[in-house]
């Protein structure tokens, strides 16, 4: 039989120290990375938003001038309002367009393999370059685009519909198509998790399909809706590429303003817009997180 040597006992003490603090060592690299490259940049952004902006440079003299410029300017303030309007529209549309599909996949498809196939089918577009996905809408929506051609061939319209491309509408269509998958996934996941016996019990008690949907299925799918809404909100609020590609630079969101400001080296203004966007995000996300415990749903 093996006997603990003095060396092994000494090692035991070291080991137990290691073990007691093991999670600290495991967490340290990740936490350090996030603090350095996530928290520090965000704090820097807040800090720089109070710096003084001159035509080509910034200096660290603190001022609120950039802030007053932001709220005084029709362009900036308008961008904030437009961002919020677009976000709410896209959020509502992804929910309306996505829920029936999620319901079909999660509740009406009983075959697990088919369920997976359908979900993967929805996710495949996600594997193609985001920017090319956006660009693909141009030949679809343009004056000589696929939709106009088809509609004209069918005799439904006499001339091309021009509002389809380079308008806010085209931005909305593009964003809904790109982000709706993030709504469908979580909802379908929650719906597929509903215990069948629960629905059977409700049917046995004589509940109508509508009642079952309202009282059981919909409430149980709500965490999925919230998680989906978080995904969509995070992505839509920070958007700028879809807007610039499909609106011909006519629709300027907060993201677009940041890009333009950075392009002309207006760091302080860009930082102000960034802080505003962060504040909007924080309110939206904490509001949504209040409805669902993300850590528990996983």
């Amino acid at each position: 039989m093996s006997v603990l040597s003095a060396e092994a006992v000494g090692e035991a003490h070291r080991e137990s120290f290691w073990r007691r603090h093991l999670h600290v060592f495991l967490l340290a690299p990740g936490v350090a990375w996030m603090v350095l490259f996530l928290i520090v940049p965000l704090i820097m952004m807040v800090y720089v938003s109070f710096w003084t902006q001159t035509t080509f440079a910034i200096n660290s003299t603190l001022t609120t001038k950039s802030w007053s410029t932001f709220f005084a300017s029709e362009t900036y303030y308008g961008a904030l309002v437009r961002t919020l309007r677009l976000w709410l529209t896209v959020l509502a549309l992804t929910f309306i367009a996505g829920y029936p599909t999620a319901l079909f996949i999660g509740q009406f498809v009983r075959n697990k393999t088919f369920q997976t196939v359908l979900l993967v089918t929805c996710v495949i577009p996600f594997w193609t370059s985001f920017l090319i996905r956006v660009l693909a809408w141009r030949p679809m929506l343009g004056k000589e685009g696929a939709i106009n051609i088809v509609l004209e061939k069918l005799g439904l319209i006499s001339g091309p519909i021009e509002v389809l491309l380079f308008t806010e509408l085209s931005v909305i269509i593009g964003m809904v198509q790109i982000y709706v998958v993030f709504m469908v996934g979580p909802i379908a996941f929650m719906l597929a998790r509903i215990d069948d016996s629960l629905l059977e019990a409700a049917r046995d008690l004589g509940a109508s399909p509508m009642t079952i949907f309202r009282k059981i299925i919909f409430p149980l799918s709500l965490p999925g809706v919230v998680v989906g809404a978080i995904f969509v909100s995070v992505m839509v609020l920070g958007e700028f590429a879809t807007a610039s590609a499909l609106s011909g630079r006519k629709v300027n969101l907060l993201g677009n303003i940041i890009v333009t400001q950075v392009g002309s080296l207006k760091w302080a203004f860009a930082a102000v817009v960034g802080v505003v966007l962060t504040a909007v995000m924080a309110v939206v996300i904490t509001g949504l997180l209040r409805l669902v415990n993300l850590q528990k749903e996983l």
Partner: protein, 285 residues
């Protein structure tokens, strides 16, 4: 809901339309990628079917006024960046998820700190990092400032995937190894890691694709040597040509290839696992 046949068909039909909506632009893009070149533009009608734009993308087409996509440099950068990001964020994600297997004080704060990385819009993070770099005199490069942001973005995904894997992991197997006198580090290498490998593979796939396609974070931080998405974004400002569509189709095919390899690897490992686990579950139950 099984007896609601009518509703079932209605929703099924809707789902078909929904999928058509998701794929419509792709189909159009696919058709237009065979547009005649170099005069043919990215719109209908098709002047003449040709593979000119594919040749253009791959650099076989004769020189014309349309600049070729910077495949050689930008794509190489994108792929190297994606691989580096994949490795680092999977390692970080696995370490953090491993720490979350025991309860500890402040776990909620750490959880949200990590998840914040995928929540903060890329444009904000890119801006913040650009400000930091500008202020501290750090050069903005795709392998430096852009890389760290890619990890900030993909590490939370890897972490969540690994967290889900560990939630389903039976820890009695590890305890058995310790009780046999095998130290924790060796137990992790010999027992835990082989068992969680399919999960690690998923985490890697997530990180790889997210990083490869990443663009708002890269925009402000990659400096003058651009990655592929930035190169594509650059063409937004000027005229677009069907070479982008051809490139899109090619990358889609490439994604399919990666997915297929992943699927095969997963298939092999689950089949092996199934052979090994065979009826273990039911017998224990």
């Amino acid at each position: 809901m099984h007896h609601l046949v009518g509703l079932r068909w209605l929703l099924g039909l809707y789902t078909v339309l929904f999928i058509a909506f998701l794929y419509g632009p792709f189909v159009v893009m696919g058709i237009l990628s065979f547009q005649q070149g170099p005069e043919g533009g990215p719109q209908f009608p098709i002047r003449e079917w040709s593979t000119f734009w594919y040749e253009h993308v791959l650099g076989f087409a004769p020189p014309s006024r349309i600049a070729p996509l910077p495949i050689a440099e930008a794509l190489t950068r994108s792929v190297s960046l994606a691989f580096a990001t994949m490795v680092v964020s999977t390692v970080l994600g696995t370490l953090t998820a491993q720490a979350f297997r025991t309860k500890f004080k402040g776990s909620g704060a750490v959880f949200y700190l990590v998840v914040l990385g995928m929540m903060v819009p890329g444009v904000l993070l890119g801006l913040g990092m650009a400000l930091v770099a500008d202020q501290f005199g750090i050069d903005r490069t795709w392998w430096g400032t852009a890389f760290v942001l890619h990890v900030v973005y993909t590490y939370p995904f890897a972490f969540l995937v690994m967290l889900a894997i560990f939630n389903r992991f039976d820890r009695s197997v590890e305890e058995a190894a310790w009780a046999l006198g095998v130290p924790p580090g060796r137990t992790f290498r010999k027992v835990t890691f082989p068992m969680i490998f399919p999960g690690v593979l998923s985490a890697m796939l997530f990180a790889l694709t997210l990083s490869y396609d990443e663009f708002p974070r890269t925009l402000f931080t990659s400096g003058s040597d651009v990655t592929m998405p930035i190169a594509i974004y650059g063409t937004f400002a000027v005229e677009i040509h069907p070479n982008l569509f051809a490139f899109g189709i090619l990358t889609t095919l490439f994604s399919f290839a990666v997915l297929t390899v992943y699927g095969i690897l997963m298939g092999i490992s689950t089949r092996r696992a199934r052979a090994r686990f065979a009826d273990l579950q039911e017998e224990i139950a």
